[in-house]
């Protein structure tokens, strides 16, 4: 994915400088903006594959920008200050694809960009989803971890399928509840927690330690992480 385009929007010149240098060193084509005004036009002209968007800008509301930008193809990764969970979740629900909490390490940033680009490349759902040791056969509804069969209820299967569709990317509680249980369950986060707990136990049973593949982003949601090998 060398040569992919990244637009960085942040009002802090020091962050722009460091991020630009790191991304260019990693082979990306980078443009930066220090304000929110005109981001849409700039995005239309530059055509970035990924936009890194600071949620707190002096002249624009990051959530509004997410809403404006979500129609175009390409991923949005929002950058937010520590502790600002509510804003983060709102941005994700309004079309952002992922988030990074400041301060973040360059390795983390590069990993998230890779995840975003990979999703764009394989946007069509494959009949078989594979993520690390996990293999989900959508047609046959069979889940295996390292070859060992995992018996799941329909809801557990659906939950795992949603997470595995976007490995590495956070899915908010709202998204998961809406997708798996339906919009009327959007506030029943305890259901989601119970199912995640069951799912982890079943994965652990099949292969000890594999339950940790479903990671909790406290107060935000869940993501499927590929086990470090």
């Amino acid at each position: 994915m060398k040569g992919a385009r990244v637009l960085v929007v942040d009002d802090d010149p020091a962050i722009l400088r460091v991020v630009r240098r790191s991304l260019e060193a990693a082979g990306y084509d980078v443009e930066t903006m220090d304000r929110g005004n005109g981001v849409s036009d700039r995005a239309a002209a530059f055509g970035p594959d990924v936009i890194l968007l600071d949620l707190v800008l002096p002249d624009a509301d990051g959530i509004d920008l997410c809403r404006q930008l979500r129609a175009r193809k390409g991923s949005i990764i929002v950058l937010s200050a520590i502790g600002d969970n509510r804003k983060k979740v709102e941005a994700l629900d309004e079309g952002a694809d992922d988030y990074l909490t400041k301060p973040f390490s360059v390795d983390e940033l590069l990993a998230r960009i890779r995840v975003a680009l990979r999703h764009q490349a394989g946007a069509e759902a494959a009949p078989v989803l594979e993520s690390g040791n996990l293999r989900i056969d959508l047609a046959r509804r069979v889940v295996t971890v390292d070859g060992a069969n995992v018996r799941l209820t329909p809801k557990e299967f659906e939950l795992l399928r949603q997470l595995a569709r976007y490995p590495g990317r956070v899915l908010t509680q709202r998204m998961l509840l809406t997708e798996v249980w339906g919009p009327e369950y959007v506030d029943d986060s305890h259901i989601l927690r119970t199912f995640v707990h069951q799912l982890r136990s079943k994965l652990d049973e099949a292969l000890p330690g594999s339950g940790a593949m479903i990671a909790t982003d406290p107060s935000v949601g869940y993501r499927l992480v590929e086990p470090e090998s």
Binding site: I82, P103, H190, R193, H197
Partner: protein
């Protein structure tokens, strides 16, 4: 009675007959009031004259002493009747006053038992509604030219322009103002000769001089038929007192919050100098070393300097996170969403989330799978994470950490135990205080805010946190309200 007495009574018993008539007159007066009493006195006088005073069956009187007797009878009967009527009126007035007093007493009692000053105003509105048979009552307060509802027996509604004018009129004149029901098709809606009032505005002035008014909706009547306006004024006085009390409480709370945040800031300033400056110093020194031209660094040295910069940055981040958390908790801007939380899932989740911090240690979870507590999941996850990271930081390296939960005495008790050296006895009472680091903890990193943040979060979950510590380990106990499993 006259017909029955007339044949049997002779001239000599006329005195006895007079007495009987007098009793009848007084009774009539006592039962039906002065006018009836006076009429019956005159009637009795005429009857006496006609049937008992010779010559009988005429209105003429033969003997002068009988004339005197009749006149005296009339005078005594009239005076007696008027005195009895007066007594009756006084009794009625006393009854009304007693009813009024009972209403006011009930009012003050209910006001005194209200748990908060704000709630007291709603209670007052409810009591007034009930006592006067009204439809609803609102306690209004004027600030500038706006009227706001500070207490209500229902859902507060904004005042119409007419109502604002009436409320202002009531406050400025100091008199009760009434808005009458509109007339329908020329027919006046009347009750007891008076037009029906839709709203009654009773002005009051609170102790702080804030003008206000009661808006009472519906047709009102004083219990016991007493003076309605006097009762309304008494109620308005109560309202004035209650509004004043609410204002004082509000003022008090604000002062306390300011004091708390002032204290927090002063402690913060002295702490920040250490907590933020020392990692900054380390980072600056490391960068300075790396940049300096005169020095040649080996690969190992460079790696170490870089590691210092990274770890010190993490330390700064932790401190800033703690400070932000604490100030958010202090200012009361943390939203709490209490819901049923499965404790086993919470403990497993926490163990997973802290697996990095507890690397190289055994973490065991011992809890039944059907214990539920009412808590904010996000906050509780933070509490548990903090406690486990704390245990990992302060206990003997490699020691086990045990998480447990049980339902006892109607509460859910979660425990976090380590196999550390324990907390010194003299530190125990202070460990939940802000910026307290203890006498031996200084060598370890931390903002000194961790446990006070934990405590504040536990408080928000309506829980309690306690600690036991011996030389062989420290155990934190969280006591939380239980909940039943959802659906």
């Amino acid at each position: 009675m006259t017909g029955w007495l007339a044949p049997v009574v002779g001239e000599d018993e006329i005195t006895a007959v007079t007495m009987v008539f007098l009793i009848v007159v007084l009774l009539a007066s006592a039962l039906w009031g002065y006018l009836v009493g006076l009429t019956s006195a005159i009637l009795a006088d005429l009857l006496l004259n006609f049937f008992f005073v010779p010559p009988l069956h005429t209105f003429t009187v033969q003997e002068p002493r009988n004339v005197v007797a009749l006149v005296v009878f009339l005078a005594v009967a009239a005076i007696g009747a008027s005195m009895l009527a007066l007594l009756r009126r006084q009794l009625a007035a006393a009854d009304a006053r007693r009813a009024e007093l009972a209403v006011m007493l009930d009012l003050s009692r209910e006001l005194a038992s209200a748990s908060s000053a704000r709630l007291a105003l709603d209670t007052l509105a409810h009591s007034i509604t009930r006592a006067l048979g009204a439809r609803r009552c609102d306690v209004l307060q004027r600030s500038g030219s706006d009227w706001q509802t500070v207490g209500s027996s229902g859902v507060p509604v904004a005042l119409t322009r007419d109502e604002v004018a009436l409320a202002n009129q009531a406050v400025e004149s100091g008199q009760v103002a009434r808005q009458l029901e509109p007339q329908f098709g020329g027919v006046r809606l009347q009750l007891g000769g008076r037009r029906i009032a839709r709203h009654t505005f009773v002005p009051f002035r609170s102790g702080a001089g804030i003008p206000g008014a009661l808006r009472i909706t519906g047709q009102l009547s004083a219990p016991g038929g007493g003076d309605l306006d006097a009762l309304l004024r008494g109620m308005a006085d109560e309202a004035g007192t209650a509004v004043h009390r609410a204002w004082l409480t509000e003022q008090n709370k604000r002062t306390e919050a300011i004091q708390r945040s002032d204290e927090f800031k002063s402690v913060l300033l002295s702490s920040v100098s250490h907590d933020l400056r020392s990692p900054l110093t380390a980072i600056k020194a490391a960068i300075g070393s790396l940049r300096s031209d005169g020095l040649e660094w080996s690969e190992e040295d460079r790696r170490q300097l870089m590691a210092t910069i990274e770890s010190q940055t993490d330390r700064l981040t932790d401190t800033v996170t703690d400070l932000l958390d604490m100030s958010r908790l202090e200012s009361g801007s943390v939203q709490v969403n209490l819901e049923p939380v499965n404790v086993r899932a919470l403990l497993d989740d926490t163990a997973l989330a802290t697996s990095q911090a507890t690397e190289g240690r055994r973490v065991c979870v011992d809890s039944a799978s059907d214990i539920w507590t009412s808590a904010d999941y996000g906050l509780m996850l933070r509490v548990m994470t903090n406690l486990i990271e704390n245990a990992a930081k302060y206990s003997t390296p490699g020691g086990a950490i045990s998480l447990g939960a049980e339902s006892t005495g109607g509460r859910v008790v979660i425990s976090v135990a380590d196999e550390g050296p324990g907390i010194p006895r003299e530190d125990l009472p202070f460990i939940f205080e802000k910026f307290y680091r203890g006498t031996t903890g200084r060598k370890t990193l931390g903002s000194g805010l961790g446990l006070s943040i934990v405590k504040a979060m536990v408080d928000l979950n309506r829980g309690r946190i306690t600690v036991d510590s011996t030389e062989s380990g420290t155990t934190f106990h969280l006591s939380l309200p239980p909940a039943s499993a959802p659906r």
